[in-house]
C-alpha cells in the first residue's frame, strides 16, 4: 500500500471547536520547582546511582546485580501484562517462556560464539515463536482451561526441554558470557536498562496503535471487536507474539546476568512469582507493573527485607528473611485482589499526575468490565 490513506466517506464531516479543559493548564512556575526536584532525583536514582556515578554512595557489585535482576523482572512483568492485562490470557507457565529465552541466548553466545545482543534478539524471536505456538492452543480453549495448559506446559518444559543436554548443558547448565563493554555488574545494569527502555517504548507504541487497540477490544468484548473488522484470532496470536518477544528478551538478559544458566530455578514457583508481581503491580498499568516486578525481584531471597533492616522485626515472628517473600508475596496478592484492584499502579497514580504537572489526587480504580452474557 503506497498512499497514506484513501479518503473515506467519513471525511465529509466538519470540525467543531471545543472549549479547553481547565485542568489541562499546568501549574505555576513555582509549582514546577518541587516537581523538577523529584524528577531529578528519580533520574539520578535510575541512571547514576546504580553505576556509582555522581553519587555519594558506593553500590556494591552484588547490589548492582540485584538491580539488574529488578530491571529484567520488569521486562518479564511487562510481558505477562500483555498476556493477562491486555489479552486476558493467564499464563502459569511463564517460567518456560523466560527459560527458553535464557537457554537460547546462552546457546547462541556460547555454542555459536555470537554477540550477546544477537543472542538476546534471537531469544526474543524464539520466545515469540514458541509463544505463538502455545497461543494457537488458546484459540480453542476458554481462559481457565488455557491457564491449566500453560501450567502443565511450564512444568513439562522445565523437566523435559531444559533437560536436553545439547541445548541446556544438562544439570551443569550452560555458560552465558556478558557482552563486551558490559562485563562488570555495574555496567550490565545499564545493558539491561537499555532493553527495558526499548520494551517500555514498544509497549507504549502497542497501546497507541492499531494492534494494541484491537487486543484490548477483543479481550473485553470479542463480538464487538469482530463487527469492527478485527480478526480476533489473528490479534490474539499477535498478543502472544509480543508477550513471547518480551519474555525472550527477559530470559536472555537473565542468562547473561547469571553467567551460567541452569534449569532448576525455572520452576512453577517462579511462574507464580511472575503472575504475582504483575497482578500486584496492577494489570494494564505500565508503571504499576514495573514497580511491582521490581519490588518482587528485590524481595527474592530476603534482599529487600535485609536492606530495609526488617530482619529484626521479622525475627520476632520467627520469619527468616529468606522465606519472607514467600509469605509476604501471596498476602500482598490477596490484599490487592480483594481490596486494591489497581495494585501498586493505583497507589502511584496520584504521584504520576502530580509529576506530570497536574493536581495530586486519588484516582479510584477502574472496575473491570466483565461481559458475562454478550447478547448479540
Amino acid at each position: 500500500m503506497t498512499a497514506v490513506d484513501p479518503t473515506t466517506r467519513l471525511d465529509v464531516l466538519e470540525p467543531v471547536a471545543h472549549p479547553v479543559d481547565d485542568d489541562r493548564r499546568g501549574p505555576s512556575a513555582l509549582g514546577w520547582v518541587p516537581r523538577a526536584a523529584v524528577w531529578a532525583f528519580l533520574a539520578w536514582a535510575v541512571l547514576l546511582y546504580p553505576g556509582n556515578i555522581a553519587s555519594p554512595f558506593q553500590v556494591a557489585a552484588f547490589d548492582a546485580n540485584r538491580m539488574s535482576e529488578a530491571v529484567i523482572f520488569a521486562i518479564i512483568g511487562l510481558s505477562l501484562n500483555v498476556l493477562i492485562g491486555y489479552a486476558g490470557q493467564v499464563s502459569l507457565g511463564h517460567q518456560a517462556f523466560v527459560g527458553i529465552g535464557a537457554f537460547t541466548s546462552a546457546y547462541v553466545v556460547t555454542d555459536l560464539t555470537q554477540e550477546v545482543v544477537l543472542g538476546v534478539l534471537v531469544a526474543a524471536l524464539v520466545g515469540a515463536v514458541q509463544s505463538v505456538l502455545l497461543g494457537l492452543v488458546s484459540l480453542r480453549l476458554t481462559g481457565l482451561y488455557f491457564a491449566l495448559v500453560t501450567l502443565v506446559y511450564g512444568v513439562m518444559a522445565q523437566q523435559s526441554i531444559f533437560a536436553i543436554e545439547a541445548f541446556t548443558g544438562g544439570t551443569a547448565g550452560k555458560a552465558a558470557a556478558r557482552p563486551t563493554g558490559f562485563e562488570s555488574d555495574h555496567r550490565y545494569y545499564y545493558f539491561a536498562l537499555m532493553f527495558l527502555v526499548g520494551v517500555l517504548a514498544l509497549d507504549w507504541r502497542l497501546l497507541r496503535t492499531k494492534g494494541g487497540r484491537a487486543i484490548l477490544a477483543l479481550r473485553e468484548n470479542p463480538r464487538v471487536a469482530q463487527t469492527w473488522g478485527i480478526d480476533t484470532k489473528a490479534y490474539t496470536l499477535f498478543a502472544f507474539a509480543v508477550a513471547g518477544l518480551f519474555a525472550g528478551i527477559g530470559g536472555g538478559l537473565l542468562a547473561h546476568r547469571d553467567l551460567q544458566v541452569v534449569a532448576n530455578p525455572f520452576d512453577f514457583n517462579l511462574a507464580l512469582v511472575f503472575v504475582l508481581m504483575t497482578t500486584v503491580g496492577g494489570l494494564r498499568n505500565r508503571t504499576g507493573v514495573v514497580l511491582g516486578s521490581m519490588f518482587f525481584a528485590f524481595l527474592r531471597n530476603g534482599y529487600l527485607v535485609e536492606k530495609l533492616r526488617l530482619a529484626g522485626p521479622l525475627e520476632l515472628i520467627d520469619l527468616s528473611p529468606e522465606f519472607a517473600p514467600l509469605v509476604i508475596g501471596p498476602i500482598l496478592l490477596l490484599v490487592v485482589l480483594t481490596r486494591l484492584p489497581g495494585g501498586f499502579g493505583q497507589l502511584a497514580r496520584p504521584w504520576q499526575e502530580w509529576l506530570a504537572g497536574r493536581r495530586f489526587r486519588w484516582v479510584p480504580a477502574e472496575e473491570e468490565v466483565t461481559i458475562n452474557d454478550v447478547r448479540a
Binding site: 493467564v90 481457565l144 502443565v152 512444568v155 514457583n269 501471596p330 498476602i331 480483594t338
Partner: protein, 298 residues
C-alpha cells in the same frame, strides 16, 4: 528394558490404579468446586499439604495420639478450605473468573510460604503411615495397606458424593451452581452451600494428602508438586463436571505414568510430564467435554 512381559503389564496396571486413586481424590475435589462455582482451584492439593503438616505437628510436637493427630490434620485441611472460601472466594465471587484463578494460586503459594516459615528449607519431615498392615499381593505386586486404604476411601467418597447429589441438599448445590441469583431468590442460602462445597473439597484434599504422604518424607508444597497437575489432568480427562469421570481420569493418569516407566519412552527426559501434557492437549483438542463430561469446554 528389552522385553515387556504380560506380568509387567499386569503389574503396571495395578500400580497405575493404586497411584491413580490419590489423583482421583484430588480430581474429585476439583470437580466439585468447578461444578458448583466454575472455579479452577489451584489450591486443592495444598489442602492436602496443610493436612499433612497439621498431622505431623500435632503428633510429633504436641504428643497427640496417632489417630487423633491424623484426624486433626484432616480438620486443618478442611479449615484451610473454609478459610479460602470465606476470605478469598466469597469477596471475589462477582469478579472475573481469571481473578479467582490467580487468587487460588496465591492461596497455594501462601500455604507453601507458611510451611517454609514454620519448618525451614530442607527439613524433611516424616509422618508414620496410617496403617502398619502390610497389605496384600495383587498380581505379583505388593500393595501396602496404606494404598488399599486409599482405594477403599476413594470408593467410599464416590459412593457418599453420589448419594449426596441425589439428596435434597445436593440438588440445592446443583441448583445454586446453575443460577446463584435465582437460587437466592427461592430461599437457598448460597453462601452456606458454597461453604459446604469447599468443606467437602477440603476433606477430599486432606485425606488425599495424608494417604499419599503417610510413610514418606515431605517438604513444603509436597502434595501440590506431586498431585496437583495429575489431579487437574484427571479432572479434565473426566470432563471436569463428572464425578465418575474424575475417578476414571485419575486411573488413566496413574496408568499412563506406570506404563510410561515400562516403555523405552523412558529415555526421553521428563517423559511422564511430557505424556501428561500431550494427553491433556489431546483431550482438550479432540474431546474438550472429556470422556464422561456433559458440557463443552469452549
Amino acid at each position: 528394558m528389552l522385553a515387556v512381559t504380560g506380568t509387567d503389564l499386569l503389574q503396571s496396571l495395578v500400580i497405575g490404579v493404586v497411584n491413580g486413586a490419590v489423583y482421583a481424590l484430588i480430581a474429585l475435589g476439583l470437580v466439585l468446586v468447578y461444578r458448583s462455582s466454575g472455579i479452577f482451584n489451584f489450591a486443592q492439593a495444598e489442602f492436602g499439604t496443610v493436612a499433612v503438616y497439621g498431622a505431623y505437628f500435632s503428633f510429633t510436637y504436641w504428643g497427640f495420639p496417632y489417630v487423633v493427630a491424623a484426624l486433626f490434620g484432616v480438620v486443618c485441611g478442611i479449615a484451610a478450605a473454609l478459610a479460602t472460601e470465606r476470605f478469598v472466594i466469597r469477596p471475589l465471587s462477582q469478579g472475573p473468573k481469571v481473578t479467582l484463578l490467580v487468587a487460588t494460586a496465591g492461596i497455594a503459594l501462601l500455604s507453601i510460604g507458611v510451611a517454609f516459615w514454620r519448618t525451614g528449607d530442607n527439613a524433611l519431615r516424616f509422618f508414620d503411615p496410617l496403617t502398619q498392615w502390610e497389605g496384600a499381593r495383587i498380581a505379583g505386586v505388593q500393595v501396602s495397606g496404606q494404598r488399599l486404604l486409599t482405594l477403599l476411601l476413594l470408593l467410599v467418597a464416590v459412593a457418599l458424593l453420589t448419594a449426596f447429589f441425589r439428596s435434597p441438599y445436593g440438588l440445592a448445590v446443583l441448583a445454586a451452581s446453575q443460577d446463584a441469583d435465582a437460587s437466592a431468590l427461592v430461599g437457598l442460602d448460597v453462601n452456606r452451600i458454597s461453604m459446604l462445597v469447599w468443606g467437602i473439597a477440603g476433606t477430599l484434599g486432606a485425606f488425599a494428602g495424608i494417604l499419599l504422604q503417610g510413610g514418606n518424607a515431605f517438604t513444603p508444597g509436597a502434595i501440590t508438586s506431586l498431585a496437583l497437575i495429575p489431579g487437574f489432568t484427571a479432572a479434565v480427562i473426566g470432563g471436569l463436571t463428572s464425578l465418575p469421570g474424575a475417578v476414571l481420569g485419575g486411573m488413566v493418569i496413574g496408568m499412563l505414568e506406570s506404563f510410561g516407566r515400562l516403555s523405552t519412552f523412558d529415555v526421553v527426559p521428563g517423559a511422564s510430564s511430557v505424556s501428561v501434557f500431550v494427553v491433556l492437549l489431546l483431550v482438550l483438542m479432540i474431546r474438550p467435554e472429556g470422556l464422561l463430561g456433559g458440557r463443552t469446554a469452549t
